[in-house]
Symmetry: C2
Subunit: 390 residues, 2 copies
């Protein structure tokens, strides 16, 4: 009865955990949720008045599939210093970056097409590729991102329809692709004429160190597509994100989006546009950076206090996630069960590994909970680990 | 480079015409646009204050894939008299009905699957089925909707993955499926154990005559899925619509939606919910009915005045569209070219026919333009027809 692509389709562990974490009293390090108390609610409230007065009914009417032109123009200017010359015709607004992935999958993937990803990789992307029946191949990755030698090896026998990377503060590991590897990647891509999807939802959330240049800027329009979103910098419930690509690809994506949902919601696009040009946007991003850096530091400090020495973690220079490694043989799934009994949720790392490894890893989100809650949650998890003898 | 499904994918003639009609001075009978001056802009403005105060940040945060629970509960109560017992677990909120069609296609269609549709049928649905590489078979239809004998004939040799119908004031023809045929269809569906997608965006826009019972209500949950939307009754730019189906199907659709766009925009859902429960909704629908009925009558009266006798049209009892038939051998495409020179746009009917017929038909939208504009547009079209000797 169902299409072939549905067989084996599983619910995202993360979305399922989102249901659990709505229980009162639950401390959640599970979702990739931004801190709601930082949402610019008052400004959006004011802007919704202004938008509905100034735009009038057109803020509620059907609009063009490619997205609100002034917003695309603003993005083009904003992105050009990093991405190179970008015009509004290189941009399509999407209903969140998850839709960006859906449209790209629709445009490029046939049943059996190959996609290269980092190992581990963003589970929502894996779901999207799976819905289009792609073969997802994980390229070995480490604390500097995807390993370029491993990529070269893979390319000897397989050429992917595209390659998918999150080069800045990756979900789930928080790792960024090193500058050296970015340059190597740009070379390999040119040499093999590959198509690379650069997904950058967390790039603005940089706490320290250098911001690396985008792959799109290093490698050029023809071989790269760039995705980003206002979900992490303004608010995810507005569902406004975008794809930057060659104009011919944007035209095709618009065709595909016509048949997919006609257009992104008009009111959300108007609100985002008025917000980014209102002047408070860069201060708001500074506030996010400061707050999230503090929360990362609180979490690391709590881990140092409460976690056994057998567990290790990284110290990402931005984003929303810490990545933990348990001793070989431990199961993060088991720990989750015990942890939920103590009202603490996180995501076991295995779901992010296309190759099925990673049983002894876990992803902890530090953006959503307040510092004292972070401390309490980590304390409870520490007790669970001790009780389990880890 | 592109996926197989992209070959032959054409832009919707309607979306392309939407670009043309944004030219100043253009009179458009082309899009399926509701009258913007009737959008409840002031109420949405007030409600956006209330929503952002009362819901606070949660109106802007990620939310569940199935959609805002209070809205689903409201819908369940609202729909049960017509559809039979419906609970919130039978409903998923979608990003417009176009996304409903995308999710359904993803869930049920493999490459080469068969879909039965009316002839003509909604072009956005045809696009969606094409993106999933279905074989679309058009079942002969007339002024009472799909012909049940023709359907029986088709079922002798083919069983479709599903059948797609718009039983009320269909896009493009404005035709409704007769009560007699509804009962026959319910029988045929049971006999052959078919799956039917009942798309009902215009059902509330009834001007006169009886409202027919839904197919879903006549035939039962197992074999029917029901789609409707707030695009035509509140505002399309909010992108809030819904699917009603068996709860197991809803669960699968939610899985598919996770990988497609995570969720429908939160703010739009909150606004729609607060609007429908605010009490003014049914009066607003009365206003839409009254206004659109008047516009239909103006258009028919103008047609009678300005169009040659060789052209015929119907008189739909609701919805947004009139359907015109030109003399055999005429081409609505040709007329469109001349008509655009006179700054009047419409949609040639051929795009709605999966079997490629219908060159001498056209769809005229009467909901979007004011009465005097309707009269002027029809007058100009009448002159074009005379000049072309039709």
């Amino acid at each position: 009865m169902y299409a072939e692509r549905i067989a084996g389709l599983k619910s995202s562990a993360i979305r399922d955990i989102l249901e659990v974490i709505s229980r009162p009293g639950m401390i959640s390090f599970a979702g990739g949720l931004p801190a709601p108390e930082l949402f610019p609610v008052e400004q959006i409230k004011e802007l919704s008045q202004r938008v509905l007065s100034d735009y009038g009914p057109s803020a509620l009417q059907y609009s063009v599939t490619e997205g609100l032109l002034p917003l695309r123009k603003w993005l083009a200017e904003e992105l050009s210093p990093d991405l190179g010359p970008v015009g509004s015709e290189n941009i399509i607004i999407t209903q969140g970056s998850q839709q960006g992935l859906d449209l790209i999958s629709k445009l490029f993937l046939d049943k059996g097409s190959t996609v290269f990803v980092e190992n581990p990789s963003y589970v929502g992307a894996l779901q999207s590729f799976q819905l289009f029946q792609a073969n997802v191949l994980a390229i070995p990755s480490d604390e500097k991102g995807m390993q370029m030698n491993a990529l070269r090896d893979r390319l000897r026998t397989r050429k992917p329809a595209f390659m998918y990377l999150m080069p800045n503060f990756q979900n789930p590991t928080g790792v960024s692709l090193s500058m050296e590897r970015r340059l190597m990647l740009a070379e390999i891509v040119k040499e093999h004429n590959l198509l690379v999807i650069e997904d950058n939802p967390y790039g603005e959330l940089v706490f320290e160190g250098l911001s690396h240049p985008s792959l799109y800027g290093l490698g050029g329009t023809g071989n790269f597509m760039y995705l980003s979103s206002f979900s992490k910098t303004i608010a995810p419930g507005l569902r406004v994100a975008y794809i930057v690509a060659d104009r011919e690809i944007i035209k095709k994506l618009a065709l595909v989006k016509q048949g997919t949902d006609l257009q992104t919601n008009t009111l959300g696009q108007c609100l985002v546009y008025e917000y980014v040009r209102s002047g408070g946007y860069s201060e708001h991003i500074s506030l996010l950076r400061k707050t999230y850096r503090h929360r990362r530091d609180c979490m690391i400090s709590a881990l140092e206090t409460y976690f056994p020495e057998t567990v290790t973690w990284n110290r990402p220079e931005g984003g929303m996630f810490l990545w933990l490694t348990l001793p070989e043989g431990s199961s993060a799934e088991d720990i989750l069960q015990h942890s939920l009994e103590q009202d603490v949720a996180f995501v076991p790392g295995q779901v992010f590994f296309p190759d099925g490894t990673g049983r002894n890893t876990m992803r902890l989100n530090f953006s959503n909970a307040a510092p004292h809650t972070i401390q309490e949650g980590i304390r409870r998890m520490g007790e669970v680990l001790k009780r389990l003898g880890i």
